[in-house]
């Protein structure tokens, strides 16, 4: 996943959001005196929702913002299409300054360039699946026939063909969120905003929808900002991840950077808590010894860290961080295989090394 050399699709610069009736004055005081969150609350009765957030998202990139509830991530994502007005700072989309747009341009931007998916689906209960999906086209006054055609395509993309005439309350939660996804992609926007889209679903369905989304994202190359409170999900889906805490972006980086070099104790805590790291073992992600030797020549494992096949990714990460060499996997005296850094990172992402091999073979 190369994240370099992309043109910038979304640029968020120094966004602050202060909630409260005296937000303006509070903001001025913050910029002047660099007040802390508690001081703002005591002196102005205002709550700081987002504190000086800056990031850029490249075209076609999936950018995950991860944080616990109340960390300000849902507030932050709503600044991108200005459902929430920033107290301070600017947002540019494809080079256009969103903060300076008038209501008309903003509506055109929202309808044509940005699709959004919500945690609670937010489907319109009085409209059929088809009318929900075609909503953004309808508000732009596109003709019926075109609407039906485009909606059918979007519904097909999320495997809901045959359900067009149903109402949302006749669908299961997972299917409803598919409708939400179809609605977001119907107008073929270049940007998707996903506000914890899969959090309200049970684990099995969540996994399924993540696959649907990863598949769609790979085919459609949409620039995506994806909010989640689940680091597993962020790592699975995101090209880059931003960790948010108390309204501040604590760390922005690739999954590799986040996992291997957490910026502070908070991020480290998160990384330590990933369940998958304790589930996947070296034996599953390693490259068999024969294959490795065929590709890289005879093995010289002097100074290599050694793991057993039953060791978890967690243990492998610890070994890998302490050394520049790949990890040798052996059972007693028998050498079984090698875990390269690449394979390890794939494992953390939840993908198997065979994928990369086939990709390498194709290239």
């Amino acid at each position: 996943m190369a994240t370099t050399e992309r043109s910038v699709a979304i640029e968020v610069r120094n966004i602050w959001k202060v909630f409260g009736s005296r937000a303006r004055q509070a903001m001025e005081a913050i910029l002047r005196d660099n007040l802390s969150k508690a001081e703002v609350r005591d002196r102005f009765g205002c709550v700081v929702g987002v504190r000086d957030a800056s990031f850029t998202v490249g075209r076609g990139e999936i950018f995950c913002i991860m944080g616990l509830s109340g960390s300000g991530k849902s507030t932050l994502i709503r600044h991108i299409n200005r459902l929430i007005e920033p107290t301070h700072g600017t947002i540019h989309i494809e080079g256009r300054n969103v903060s300076a747009m008038n209501a008309r341009d903003l509506r055109a931007l929202r309808a044509e360039q940005i699709g959004m998916v919500f945690q609670n689906m937010a489907l319109m209960p009085h409209r059929t699946v088809r009318d929900n999906v075609a909503f953004s086209l309808e508000v732009r006054g596109r003709p019926d026939e075109e609407r039906a055609r485009i909606a059918a395509r979007a519904i097909d993309a999320v495997d809901l063909t045959g359900w067009e005439a149903k109402y949302p309350d006749e669908l299961s939660g997972g299917m409803q969120q598919r409708v939400g996804l179809a609605r977001a992609i119907a107008a073929d926007p270049s940007i998707l905003l996903m506000d914890e889209p899969f959090s309200a679903l049970d684990p099995l369905i969540r996994r399924q929808l993540q696959d649907v989304f990863i598949d769609l994202a790979a085919r459609m190359h949409k620039t995506t900002v994806f909010i989640t409170h689940d680091l597993d999900e962020a790592i699975r889906i995101g090209h880059r991840i931003a960790i948010m805490k108390d309204g501040v972006l604590v760390q922005v980086g690739t999954p590799e950077e986040i996992v291997t070099r957490p910026a502070d104790a908070y991020v480290a805590d998160f990384v330590a808590g990933i369940s998958k790291l304790d589930l996947v073992t070296a034996g599953r992600i390693m490259q068999p010894l024969g294959l490795y030797e065929r590709e890289n020549g005879p093995l010289d494992a002097a100074g290599w860290p050694v793991a057993r096949p039953g060791d978890t990714l967690n243990a492998l990460v610890d070994l890998a961080v302490g050394s520049d060499h790949p990890i040798l996997v052996s059972e007693g005296a028998q050498r079984l295989g090698v875990v390269t850094k690449g394979a390890l990172l794939r494992g953390i992402q939840g993908r198997s090394e065979t994928n990369t091999l086939s990709m390498r073979g194709a290239a």
Binding site: L83, V139, L193
Partner: protein, 329 residues
């Protein structure tokens, strides 16, 4: 007065002369009658037209029409109930039907004006806390102030007759539709409205495509209450020379004629039951009806079904004839 200012009872010795001032308003109203003449004429035209229409339809046809409307709006059982009620109404006395139509005309005219005024006010109140706060005491006043208080000024302004009757009825019956429209708009799921915004809907589109449809059951409950309250005003309105069932009750009271009073009273009750059942049927959301569109059920649904069946039948016939031709060829 000079001897008697008592600090424990200050109200007795201070006279702000409010009654006289109100009298001034009355005189002002009388002298400005001409200004509201156009309004009066429009209302009068509306009432006359509605009543003429209702009276022109033969009673049995009107009865059948109401039954069909009830069937469409609320289903077969309600239709049967409405039919039975209307039969009883018609047989109460020979002229009961005509009296009921007069009353119905006044109610319909009042409700039309209530909706025209109440819906926009309710929408505004639903959107703005400040407007709602300002409106609330006015609505409270309208609902609680005794009708006799505004009966006189309205008559001074408009004279006696149907127009005054409608205005008096509106004052009493307007609040529920305003309140329930506001409640309905406020009750719309905020995240659905947010989603509509996120997909580029204008404020007007959000109102017409999201908020009003979702608030419709609540708004229709308000309409139902407005209709009920207008009906409850017909006796009072008859004091300012509005004809109809209310007038029967009023006259019976003057003559201590219990049997006449029962006829008028029963007529009003029956009318209330009929209107209530029909509008309650309207208020049930499509979701409660199992996602059938209104034209898929009731008499319209039955007719459409028949038409479609015949269409299929003809098509089948064409196909079979086509086949036989093909086969013979």
């Amino acid at each position: 007065m000079a001897d008697g200012f008592n600090i424990l009872d200050p109200f007795r010795s201070v006279d702000l002369d409010i009654a006289d001032r109100a009298d001034g308003i009355k005189h002002w109203a009388i002298s400005h009658r001409a200004a509201i003449d156009p309004l009066k004429r429009v209302l009068d035209g509306l009432i006359t037209w509605i009543e003429a229409t209702l009276q022109a339809v033969p009673p049995l046809v009107m009865l059948a029409l109401l039954v069909l409307i009830a069937w469409q709006a609320a289903g077969r059982r309600t239709a049967l109930l409405v039919g039975g009620c209307l039969l009883v109404l018609g047989f109460l006395t020979p002229d009961a039907w005509s009296l009921a139509m007069t009353t119905l005309a006044i109610v319909i005219a009042s409700v039309i004006v209530c909706v025209l005024i109440g819906l926009p006010l309710g929408i505004l109140a639903g959107k703005s806390d400040r407007f709602e706060a300002a409106l609330r005491p006015v609505l409270d006043t309208m609902q609680t102030i005794p009708a006799f208080v505004y009966l006189v000024p309205v008559v001074m302004l408009m004279g006696i007759g149907n127009v005054s009757g409608v205005i008096v009825t509106i004052i009493f019956a307007l609040p529920p539709i305003v309140r329930l429209t506001s409640l309905g708009i406020r009750g719309v799921n905020a995240s659905v409205v947010e989603a509509a915004r996120a997909f580029g809907a204008t404020p007007r589109q959000i109102l017409t495509k999201v908020e009003l449809p979702l608030a419709a059951p609540t708004i229709l409950a308000g309409l139902n209450q407005t209709i009920m309250l207008s009906l409850s005003m017909v006796v009072i309105a008859s004091m300012i020379s509005v004809k109809g069932l209310g007038n029967e009750v009023l006259r019976a009271m003057g003559r201590l004629d219990a049997s006449k009073a029962i006829v008028g009273g029963l007529g009003i009750v029956i009318l209330a039951i009929v209107l209530d059942r029909i509008t309650q049927g309207l208020g049930r959301s499509t979701r409660e009806r199992g996602h059938h569109h209104w034209w898929e059920s009731g008499p319209v649904g039955a007719v459409l079904h028949l038409v479609r069946q015949r269409g299929h039948h003809e098509q089948d016939q064409k196909q079979t004839t086509g086949k036989t031709i093909h086969e013979t060829a």
